[in-house]
Amino acid sequence: MSQVNRLSRGGRIDRSQPLTFTFNGETYQGYAGDTLAAALLANGVDVIGRSFKYSRPRGIVAAGAEEPNAVLQIGSREETQIPNVRATQQALYSGLVAASTNGWPSVNNDLMGILGKVGGKMMPPGFYYKTFMYPSSLWMTYEKYIRKAAGLGRAPLENDPDIYDHINQHCDVLVIGAGPAGLAAALAAGRSGARVILADEQEEFGGSLLDTRETLDGKPAAEWVAKVVAELKTLPEVTLLPRATVNGYHDHNFLTIHERRTDHLGETAPLGAFSAPQARHRVHRVRAGRVVLAAGAHERPLVYANNDVPGNMLAGAVSTYVRRYGVAPGKKLVLATNNDYAYRTALDWLDAGLQVVAVADARSNPRGSWVEEVRSRGVRVLTGSSVIDVRGGKRVEAARVAAIDPVAMKVTSPGEWLDCDLVASSGGYSPVVHLASHLGGRPEWREDILAFVPGEGNGLQKRIDAGAVNGVFKLGDVIANGFEAGVKAAAETGFKATAGDLPRTEKRVEEAAIALFQVPHEKPTARAPKQFVDLQNDVTAAGIELATREGFESVEHVKRYTALGFGTDQGKLGNINGLAIAARSMGISIPQMGTTMFRPNYTPVTFGAVAGRHCGHLFEPKRYTAMQAWHVANGAEFEDVGQWKRPWYFPKKGEDLHAAVARECLAVRNSVGILDASTLGKIDIQGPDAREFLNRVYTNAWTKLDVGKARYGLMCKEDGMVFDDGVTACLADNHFLMTTTTGGAARVLQWLELYHQTEWPELKVYFTSVTDHWATMTLSGPNSRKLLAEVTDIDLDKDGFPFMTWKEGNVAGVPARVFRISFTGELSYEVNVQADYALGVWEKLIEAGKKYDLTPYGTETMHVLRAEKGFIIVGQDTDASVTPDDLNMGWCVGRTKPFSWIGWRGMNREDCLREDRKQLVGLKPIDPLKVLPEGAQLVFDPKQSIPMTMVGHVTSSYMSATMGHSFAMAVVKGGLKRMGERVFAPLADGSVIEAEIVSSVFYDPKGERQNV
């Protein structure tokens, strides 16, 4: 198919590089330098999709981020599908495959279109509110219908083959937008030596200068652009980011830029240097000293009847397609405007050798330079008039132009139908205030330019506005304004900018616009043909009026009621018109109406870019102990404990979890097992006040712990609730080694530092984490002494090295500290060596242990063994609402310590002293083969009707291979006084497990096995 709308010359495209692409299955050709939208227009593709609600045919309207209709699905393969790509922002590449996201089953012959009016009635304004709110149970049904019908793009079902990444940037000046203002600002700031980032969302820098008919220094403006870009490239501290949209302006001048690095090259990123994958998109996380906001302005369309028929476009977009891409999206143009600037479109159209049927200007007597130029070239200029209606199905066929009174909202002449195939409209220019408003700064209305400009805001943004976004529109003023902003930004960040020559611009007379948003029609809005405000969401002027009539007076309510400003374009095209209509409907001014909130992101961002490299094997750090390689080689299954990977159990061939755990448990009880306990937190404590500090952070007393001994301790928060536990050993008078839970290691160290630094700085003590320095392996079981004796020079005599003491000496030739502490209830030795030497020691223990059937065991066996002994796991048997007394661990509370300690006051509150609090007890299921589910709620009366009175829950529950029956730990109201009573666990499947309340110490209650 030929490029029917391609002009024979002009544009910034490369005609020597034709590119083939497909749209909805048809093959087309465009040129390098085209956007997908330009190429589609060049090929005369009028209908790009169907509308959201009414399923009306829609075509390309704009040339930038504000495009509401050409929102396409890109990708030739399932894994490369990209939804919601604005065709106006997608560079054409060879082989590009695009499809409509809307239009089911096809855009040109749409079943929904035939049913369009029905669809519209099914979905009146307020559909979101009225239907989706009630009944909520039907939401899933509605959603399927809406999604299918609305066809907002779809996510791929297969893994994305590309990678995405993040980079952190710091700069003195971030310039947003590389149009005339941004380029000038970057130049001024860059020359000062400041670190400058210039980011622009388009394929190349220049903004409006890439399609303007105005000259700079008497030459095409693009030449000035090239000169400035060339100079910026020579400045070492200037970073240039084309294809990079500044999408979010966050607190503390932190901004996020979404750079599309390879989207112009193909649907997947080609390999880069060193044959490495290139990131398809990169998010730049920027801290900027100052931001120069030079985001420009979006043109507003006029709201007239049937303004959505393909062939209705923004005036500026028509100029862009003609001058930048060499594409004429039609032959016969009718231009509707309320301002001078739009006249350039008529001149550009004439220059391309095409016909301007008429210009309808709402002003009564426009006399600006361009207006006169258009008149002088023989174009019919109808003043005090506008396009009020359009005829056509899949393409504009004629426009009706009539005299209007925009204040009285009346049509004042019968008007006439003008044959044409393109209606370009301009209702003025809306500064792109989005980023300036992301932190809550409200835009301010300026009546002189009929537009919102960025407000002073709340002082959260260190931002200087320049150019059109600042309400400055004349090219010479824009460049000067940009240059000043760059100078100011550099100065405010400590750099001295040098003076520079600004390019000479053309002089021309320009007159003010008049306010015109919705164009009047003979019929009242509700009865007139549809006048679209938000094309993407099918919001009409009538719908907005209906919203205000129904009492939705806040602009935010109007938005939710009508869907105005939802979707991928977030109201870039329609919002100002919409709120102007709402304001008029309510008889208030536009500033009284105000804008809706602007939120990041400015344009849609792919999830891949949000995730960056934090996915797959880099999703989360995995922490390993020094013995990890052995665990892997010996078939361990792993459990996540915080970020640690801990061996969960070591299955032998054919064993499942239960079989392996039963075997491991019996091995420990009957002979000896070995556990990698390296992940336990370890804190070295030194200082003359170390002992006193321990007295204050632990619940129990530490004054009398001798050198060489170890003691179990509980830690509470101020409220008296247990938050960590562990064994602390006295290494020397002023030197202790504290152990914490695996998950609590960092938390406890911070806790100690917090109290030391803020409450007791006078205590002479230092804390240092040695968790990673020491690797810990625990030998546990009746044969552990015999085994250890074979590889150590430490005297293991039970009287010389009793329970709860520690010794130094060599183990397998490596200096070690060995602690006789036990979490299994068996005779145990915890061997600690410098982690660099741990694997060798572990392997020697394994070797020496063969004759004792030494069995490596994991966390699951550890949990069972400790539970048989009634030892708690903080965080499993406790939940921050449990005091030491609730755990029946009052023996671990130093009630007579002279200095108060953390938690003492809290645990003595009246509520904490109640006797019917939930207390930790053991549960013995009546059926010894039934294992209570952990978390199961408990009741005293299983026959009570729902809602039942819940009296506690199961915290730990296992099958004990040692005891031959199931058992559990649970918290039960007043449980400690209910020994022998029954509780019931009604389960979700209707069954009930009955259990007897017993002591939480099931095995060896006197501790004879560990103390030998």
Binding site: D733, N734, Y766, D772
Partner: protein, 210 residues
């Protein structure tokens, strides 16, 4: 028994395994890309000591100088004396790195110089961390992909050292020469950092040095 337990923890004759032992870095030497922008070397099994004390106390500062031959570095800096380096970590905390096996003698020398009256702490953390040296023209850019700290020379000159975020964890970054940086990495996070560095360096070319 003395007030603090000082214990020689490293065996004399047994070869240790650094936190990146499993990565087999030695086997990767010479197999990297030519023209690589990032070169990585593990300075493994060194002696690492954490030093705590009151920098404002002349007795402490003087004792450190006497034992080590360097002054206590000020905030966010690093000083070196031959194969020994001393780095500020926090207002009362420094990281001392010495050659392998010298940590025990260094700790004894420090304790001797600082005496029995002063309150301070020396803790051997050698097994808990390792040092990765990164060099090459693209290291700074690779670091920008990894940490939100500003690594531009105007903010991060040679001689500066900071503890900061790195990917999804934290570590210490030391700028030791114009194109040379060091990372102090905790043992248990070393594998994650190694995976991250390989990934972040891929576009610049990565070469492993002996």
């Amino acid at each position: 028994m003395t007030a603090v337990n000082v214990y020689k923890q490293r065996p004399d004759k047994i070869e240790g395994q650094s936190p990146l032992h499993h990565a087999g870095l030695a086997e990767l030497v010479g197999k990297g890309k030519s023209g690589a922008g990032v070169h990585l070397r593990e300075k493994k099994l060194l002696g690492h000591l954490t030093l705590r004390g009151d920098a404002k106390d002349p007795a402490f500062a003087g004792g450190v100088h006497k034992a080590l031959g360097v002054e206590l570095p000020v905030a966010l800096t690093l000083v070196a004396n031959g194969s020994l380096s001393l780095q500020w970590l926090a207002p009362d905390e420094w990281l001392l790195i010495v050659p392998r096996g010298e940590e025990f003698a260094t700790e004894k020398r420090l304790r001797e110089a600082l005496g029995n009256e002063l309150h301070y702490a020396v803790v051997n953390v050698s097994g808990g961390q390792t040092l990765l040296e990164l060099s090459g023209p693209k290291v700074r850019e690779m670091l920008m992909k990894s940490t939100s700290y500003d690594v531009h020379p105007s903010n991060f000159p040679v001689g500066k050292a900071v503890g900061t975020h790195f990917a999804k964890t934290q570590l210490v970054i030391r700028h030791t020469a114009e194109e040379t940086w060091e990372l102090v990495v905790r043992r248990s996070f070393a594998d994650y950092i190694w995976l991250w560095l390989q990934d972040a360096s891929a576009e610049f070319g990565l070469a492993i040095e002996a």
